[in-house]
């Protein structure tokens, strides 16, 4: 089935995906209309992962997975969970993976552990093939590797301290082995299905270069990770109005900043795109963001901060209305709030009264919350 211009535009609109792709629409349509007749081979392999990314992909709608496969001329030749391997042949699945051709797209789910911590199949002589070897072999053949999920992108969950199996992302492996194939990271635990499907769609339509041009400092397409969740959050007004939750499960709508929300340090479009057909996202379910798209997830240093522990962060103090980032020095502000309001202007690059008002309120809140937290820690000791 070939996708008409109208169908495609409808698809893009439904994806809502791209303010980004919006700009490229004419080019995408042109690409579609001149699309090659043959199918684009795509193989999906799993390393140290949990299959959550695959399950997330199944949640896509408009198009669903089957539509995407037919519309985008995507030949999903190997996928460990949904493939119809030759059911009667013991090595049928392996043969299909070995047939991955030059120039195809390789999708990787799961982190890359060292050596034999993860193996897929074995050679004719019986020696097992490590996941690293598969990535090396197929990665060199691929025209690009799409690393889906935080594990494949940066190591993710299994690379949490103390990283027991030496997990890292695909890019790290390619750097170690001098493999030049470009890697697109689509992190998330799991990633939103739109992020994955739109990335695949652009790649198989012959526009991997657009994706590569859009990558941010962490190798992510910046379309999907445009700004801090805090800045896009529907509860932002509760932060600005200092209605801030002090414990989980409060019945009123409040900002979750003090109970560990990683929104201020996490870039993703979850608040706008929302999850599972747009019904919800973590913060709307009153659950603090855990920063699952960030390279540092879930904490790679010893004794990382707990997910429900407050994280102080400069981004929180730079409301978007101000042109320059404003570093909020809470301690001295707390002191100055007790001293004279005049000294505030010396601390602030903007020095406006409005800002001073916000700063004083915030500082007071911080001090209050911190002393309460200290009490809690003692109490729970």
């Amino acid at each position: 089935m070939r996708l008409s211009r109208r169908e495609f535009l409808k698809t893009v609109a439904l994806f809502g995906a791209a303010a980004a792709v919006e700009a490229y629409k004419p080019a995408i349509v042109e690409a579609l209309e001149s699309a090659a007749q043959g199918e684009v081979p795509v193989a999906w392999i799993q390393g140290a992962g949990c299959t959550g990314c695959t399950i997330s992909l199944l949640q896509t709608s408009d198009p669903d997975l089957v539509e995407a496969i037919t519309w985008f001329r995507l030949n999903l030749m190997f996928h460990p969970n949904v493939m119809m391997e030759p059911q009667h042949d013991p090595r049928g699945a392996l043969k299909m993976l070995e047939a991955f051709p030059e120039g195809g797209y390789l999708i990787v789910e799961g982190a890359v552990p060292r050596g034999s911590y993860c193996m897929i199949g074995s050679r004719e002589d019986g020696t097992p093939i490590t996941f690293e070897d598969w990535l090396d072999k197929l990665g060199r053949r691929a025209s690009a590797v799409l690393a889906f999920g935080t594990c494949a992108s940066y190591g993710g969950i299994p690379s949490g301290y103390p990283n027991p199996t030496g997990c890292r992302g695909v890019r790290d492996l390619f750097r170690e082995r001098g493999i030049a194939t470009p890697v697109v990271n689509v992190p998330g635990c799991p990633p939103h299905p739109d992020w994955m499907l739109l990335t695949v769609a652009l790649a198989v339509l012959g526009h991997a270069d657009w994706i590569l041009d859009s990558l941010d400092e962490y190798g992510r397409p910046s379309w999907f990770y445009p700004d801090y969740i805090h800045n896009l959050c529907p509860r932002r007004q509760f932060f600005d109005n200092l209605k801030i939750a002090e414990r989980p499960g409060e019945p009123e709508l409040k900002c979750l900043w003090m109970i560990g929300c990683r929104g201020p340090v996490t870039k993703a479009d979850c608040p706008i795109r929302k999850w599972n057909g747009g019904v919800n996202f973590c913060i709307s379910a009153n659950a603090p963001c855990i920063g699952c798209v960030e390279p540092s997830f879930p904490g790679k240093e010893p004794s990382p901060k707990g997910f429900y522990q407050h994280v102080a962060n400069p981004n929180v103090g730079s409301p978007k209305v101000f042109a320059q980032p404003f570093q909020l020095d809470l301690k001295s502000m707390a002191e100055s709030s007790r001293a004279s309001p005049a000294s505030l202007s010396a601390l602030s690059p903007m020095g406006t009264l409005a800002l001073a008002g916000l700063g004083v309120g915030l500082a007071a809140l911080m001090v209050k919350a911190r002393s309460r937290r200290a009490k809690e820690v003692e109490g729970s000791g």
Binding site: I55, V279, S284, G299
Partner: protein, 513 residues
């Protein structure tokens, strides 16, 4: 003797290879081997205990909600002691999430994972004379069938059409309902020690109900079709095929379940009770479960002999690759020294909600049909639970008195795949020790102390595996069906690792007999 290695097993969660020793065209011995280690229990050590549910939810992305739930229960037990319950609404919301999880997971297994092995019980198979086609069946593609029972033979074109028209939209609806209470799915975000975060509105409840109502309608239609049309069709038209399916994959016939979903409106009686049922069907009376009777054995696992033992006293496993006689990284959990099957068949038999078709009390088909039975049970119950939540919306969802305290605790639960146990030890406000004994470890376990096989290994014994001379390989569809009927989830079962472990595998390319 001929050895066959099936690798990698597909359409299961995780990395698994199965080795079969063949004699006279039948499986004489079987070894199941996992090929991935992540060490997630190590990752939670030294962290805030409340992080454990978030990280361990990622043990598995298929039944994600259940590890979060069980970990939360273990922490609540450790901090607040025996008999602690968070506010009723928290329990209700957790039960609904569990109910949707079971519904989604069983439905996905029966269609996407195991479905193609049976051609989705005829739903997407080749058109078979005498079988009424359900209204949702896509048109037959007209390709000739190659077996005597075409309704069991997958028709890939039809299958993809069905995937598009029914399966994907239905599973998506279930996950949307779950996301209303969980924030996002997979890896929902709302359950935490002391309650849940989400405060549902009447609109949330109504939307979740509407979505699950739709799912329920579809599930009932499929359930009725399987029992009213498909199974009778097998009985009448293909009695030989039915008999074959009822005589393979029998297994150990010991069953274990911990019980699940305490109902705050019925004095915390469980929706499905736990129990241990030995030697079914000769014995049909389950006995109560004593967690102290669970032991992990390592005689045939690559760990030193001092590893293993009772869950709470178990030392961290000491890897010993190349230990004589050992062949697996999975440990062998035993209840009262016996291997036990866990999962929907175990729960349905212990709760007397399913009568096996096979005279042996278990078979590859019974395991699958018991899953369908439980699917309907949950799909019905979850609707009541959602309505009941709607009647209690004003109640709190989080216990302000909950505090992290030092101690140790167990959490037990029944994920779709069977009995799940989490153990946590908290000291100095941090996680000091963590153990999970997960369903697939029970099912996929290697031999135990007396040399007795694990449930999947036992279930494979005696299975016919004919040689296909034309294609040049052994036809392994029957062993593959048996392994998938247990719905193995490898990411869960092997969560431990070794510093420099290497898996060497004696894989012999099959030769004609």
């Amino acid at each position: 003797m001929v050895e066959i290695t099936i690798e990698p097993m597909t359409r299961i969660e995780g990395h698994l290879a199965v080795k079969l020793d063949m004699r006279d065209g039948r499986v004489a011995d079987a070894y199941a081997m996992g090929t991935l280690w992540r060490g997630l229990e190590r990752v939670v050590i030294g962290r805030d205990p409340r992080d454990a549910p978030i990280i361990l939810s990622r043990i598995c992305g298929v039944c994600h909600g259940v590890h979060r739930q069980t970990s939360v229960l273990a922490i609540e037990h450790a901090c607040m002691g025996e008999g602690y319950h968070p506010p009723d609404n928290a329990v209700r919301i957790r039960n609904i999430i569990e109910g949707i999880q079971e519904t989604w997971d069983h439905a996905a297994h029966l269609t996407v994972l195991a479905g193609p092995d049976y051609a989705v019980y005829g739903l997407a198979g080749k058109r078979c004379p005498g079988l009424r086609q359900p209204p949702w069946a896509p048109p037959a593609s007209g390709k000739p069938a190659s077996t005597s029972a075409p309704c069991l033979e997958i028709d890939v074109d039809r299958y993809y059409q069905l995937l598009h028209s029914a399966i994907l939209p239905t599973q998506k609806l279930a996950h949307e309902a779950m996301a209303i209470l969980g924030g996002k799915v997979p890896h929902h975000m709302t359950a935490l020690p002391g309650g849940v975060t989400v405060v549902p509105t009447p609109a949330d409840v109504a939307l979740a109900y509407a979505k699950m109502r739709d799912v329920n309608t579809t599930i009932h239609a499929v359930y009725d079709y399987v029992w009213n049309d498909f199974v009778p069709h097998l009985k009448e038209e293909h009695p030989d095929v039915l008999e074959a399916l009822l005589n393979i994959g029998i297994g150990v016939r010991n069953f274990l379940a911990y019980g699940v979903c305490p109902d705050p409106d019925r004095g915390y009686a469980k929706f499905l009770e736990g129990g241990a049922l030995f030697n079914y069907p000769a014995n049909t009376t389950p006995e109560p479960v004593d967690l102290e009777e669970i032991e992990e054995c390592v005689k045939y696992s690559w760990y030193t002999d001092v590893s293993g033992g009772k869950v709470s006293r178990e030392p961290p496993p000491e890897p010993y690759y190349g230990k004589p006689g050992a062949y697996s990284w999975a440990k062998a959990p035993r209840y009262k020294g016996k291997p036990c099957e866990v999962g929907p068949l175990a729960r349905m038999l212990i709760n007397r909600k399913y009568t096996p078709l096979s005279p042996h009390g278990a078979s590859v088909l019974d395991r699958t049909l018991a899953r369908l039975e439980e699917l309907k049970l949950y799909a019905d119950a979850v609707l009541d639970w959602i309505l009941n939540l709607g009647a209690h919306l004003k109640e709190p969802v989080y216990d302000e008195a909950f505090k992290i305290k030092d101690g140790e605790g167990f959490g037990t639960w029944e994920p779709p795949r069977g009995a799940l146990l989490h153990y946590i030890k908290i000291s100095g406000g941090k996680t000091a020790a963590y153990q999970c004994v997960v369903p697939t470890t029970w099912n996929i376990s290697p031999r135990g102390p007396m040399g007795e096989r694990g449930p999947i290994e036992e279930a494979l014994i005696g299975t016919p595996v004919p040689y296909n001379a034309e294609a040049g390989y052994y036809d392994v569809i029957s062993p593959v069906r048996i392994v998938r009927s247990f719905d193995p989830c490898l990411a869960c079962s092997i969560h431990l690792m070794t510093p420099d472990g290497r898996l060497q595998k004696a894989s012999v390319t099959p030769t004609p007999p």
